[in-house]
């Protein structure tokens, strides 16, 4: 289990199709809402006014797309609006009441100085005429899409009481081309699938992207040398470090809560997979599991004191938890069903999402780790895999198949809203939702 001659922490910049932000990927995703809750809240997102010198960016279109995409809101069609207020004082509440709108968002863009943009917005409850939000965002032209997502976050929270996660990012693997001549891309995009950037490209498989807790780096597995290695790549610069290239398997990187350590899966010469922890500063390697079965897919508890992982030590794959205190024995967590794998923890640590097999179908389930909620199967697919929680814990993004293609899907953690994100080309795999601050 020693490191091979391939040196540790070798920094390679911009080699082998490694990109800093800037490489534009494919066009945007198409959102299909496959199951929605019965009542979507009617809201009017009035087109923002552009004051003298302000850019013509359509903030309202981005906010509408975000809120409609959540399936919890139904934004009013612009052509049905009878006037276009951009401050609260201009809103004629009786008109909006007659149009059956519960909330109105108004706003404007202005240019306080060259290169700078201020975005003002106000949210009103039509029935009570109460002002729920009133903010000004100071940004620049390049920051307007992010500012729009931040407005969506504020509106979502003001009305639903749940922090929005629109101003965050996702990472996923995009596979292009036909067997055996495929191209594997690691892509980072806005949470709505817009603004996709290719950060790594290879003719060999890329796997298991994992966001650092600060949202600035991705760890992932690359088979670029035909054998698996784990790299950590800084998104802003494209610089990357080789962090694990031991003989055999190097898989399933998972960041510790403070980002100082990486849990990984390694194998010995006999091919036995076990979970290890690599200290990123000292490079010290600590073995966590000791079992002849497959032990893999480690995931940290929020306190950093234990790991969840998949093991088939009892037969089929099941999820276990092990304390990092030396000598601790793993404790089995899942008992329902013959196949439970790839555990992912909710941001508050209260639930586990994972892949479960129901009959011959693979679906996404959650397990209540604290109360008596038990296990709940949230999805209804056949090929559902790779769940990842949104940083607000309200949704899970996962991968599935649609008409033979790999696509992304979202399900709310209450199971009521389900959507599919269809990429215009290729197979999309292994989505991972970045933390807040991963803009």
């Amino acid at each position: 289990m020693n490191d091979t001659a391939r040196s540790l922490l070798l920094t390679v910049c911009c080699a082998l199709g490694v990109f800093a932000f800037g490489a534009r990927a494919h066009a945007a995703f198409v959102v299909q809402i496959t199951r929605g809750q019965t009542v979507a809240i009617p809201i009017a997102i009035v087109p923002f006014a552009a004051n003298a010198g302000a850019p013509a960016f359509d903030v309202a279109a981005v906010v509408s797309h975000d809120l409609d995409g959540s399936a919890r809101f139904k934004s009013m069609d612009r052509k049905d609006m009878i006037d276009l207020p951009h401050t609260g004082a201009q809103i004629v509440f009786d008109d909006w009441k007659r149009l059956n709108v519960d909330y109105v968002l108004v706003g404007s863009l202005s240019r306080p100085a060259p290169g700078r943009v201020d975005v003002s917005f106000e949210l009103y409850n039509v029935l009570t005429q109460q002002r729920l939000l009133g903010y000004q965002i100071h940004t620049d032209d390049a920051g307007l899409r992010l500012a729009s997502h931040q407005i969506s976050d504020k509106v979502f929270e003001a009305i639903l009481g749940i922090r929005g996660a629109f101003a965050t990012r996702i990472a996923y693997v995009l596979v292009l081309g036909k067997i055996p001549h495929q191209t594997f891309q690691l892509v980072v995009a806005d949470a709505d699938g817009e603004n996709p950037q290719v950060v790594m490209q290879s003719g060999e498989p890329l796997m298991s992207p994992a966001w650092s807790p600060d949202g600035k780096q991705l760890a992932y597995v690359s088979f670029e040398d035909k054998l698996p290695s784990i790299y950590v790549q800084t998104l802003k610069t494209g610089a990357r470090q080789l962090v694990s290239a031991t003989a055999g398997v190097n898989q399933a990187p998972a960041w510790s809560p403070h980002g100082h350590r990486l849990a990984v899966t390694l194998s010995n010469r006999a091919g036995n997979l076990d979970v290890f922890v690599r200290d990123l500063a000292t490079h010290a390697l600590t073995r966590i599991t000791h079992n002849p079965g497959i032990d893999t897919e480690p995931q940290w508890a929020p306190d950093g004191n234990s790991l969840y992982f998949t093991s088939d030590r009892d037969g089929g794959p099941q999820i276990f938890e092990v304390s990092l205190t030396p000598g601790s024995r793993p404790r089995r967590i899942t008992f329902q069903g013959s196949y439970n794998a790839r555990p992912r923890l909710s941001p508050d640590g209260s639930h586990l999402a994972f892949v479960t097999r129901v009959g011959g179908d693979f679906r996404i389930a959650t397990l209540d780790l604290e109360g008596n909620g038990g296990m709940r199967v949230l999805t209804h697919g056949v090929f559902d895999e790779s769940p990842s929680y949104a940083p607000n814990g309200a949704e899970i993004i996962y991968a599935t198949h649609q008409h033979g293609r790999g696509v992304l899907a979202l399900v709310s953690t209450d199971g009521r809203v389900q959507q599919t994100l269809v990429s215009p080309e290729g197979d999309v795999e292994e989505p991972v939702w970045g933390p807040y601050g991963s803009e």
Binding site: P228, G248, V249, T265, G271, E297, R342
Partner: protein, 184 residues
């Protein structure tokens, strides 16, 4: 390159060169039509009525080809297929393993990479474990026949390197496999 030349000389016939190059493209060498298993459509997904069943290829003539040509033999002569969630080698593949073992024993300078694969259902990282277990099963079978450990390399691609596309049992059957690839 010197080592490769030496290996080439040890193998019989001019055909050996292409085999030893593995996946590396060789000038003037046609791209391998042998990548597609017999019975599979070249489009991959497999239209209605197309059946894809792994062949064991266990007849004398084919095994002679294995011994002489390394990678340059039909896929079914260098691929071992597995049942769902299983890593046991079925008896029908023993002649193929024996043929590769003979080749490796007769040519101690030859090295082989055993590439473990799974179908693409379920958890990707767990599938890496399953693919590794399958590659190890073939490694042990070769070593039991007398092949030196130093001649064998294993890698698991899990579900990442399917042989054929398709969300159907035929495709899954073709993808649960270990490919034996001779290294340059």
């Amino acid at each position: 390159m010197k080592r490769l030349t030496a290996i080439t000389l040890m193998l019989t016939g001019a055909l050996a060169l292409a085999g030893c190059h593995g996946k590396t493209a060789v000038k003037g060498q046609p791209t391998s039509a042998t990548e597609v298993p017999a019975g599979a459509t070249t489009g991959g997904a497999g239209g209605a009525g197309t059946s894809m069943t792994p062949m064991n290829g266990a007849n004398g003539g084919s095994l002679q080809a294995v011994a002489q040509n390394g990678n340059n033999v039909p896929r079914e002569q260098r691929t071992i297929y597995f049942d769902f969630d299983k890593s046991e080698i079925q008896p029908k593949y023993e002649p193929i393993i024996a043929a590769h073992a003979q080749t490796l024993i007769a040519n101690p300078g030859l090295r082989i990479r055993l590439e473990g694969n799974t179908d693409d259902r379920g958890s990707r990282e767990y599938n890496i474990g399953l693919g590794e277990r399958r590659a190890q099963a073939v490694r042990r079978a070769l070593m039991l026949q007398g092949v030196a450990d130093s001649q064998i390399e294993t890698v698991s691609y899990g579900a990442e390197r399917p042989a054929v596309e398709g969300d159907n049992p035929e495709a899954w059957t073709m993808n649960r496999r270990v490919d034996m690839v001779y290294l340059p």
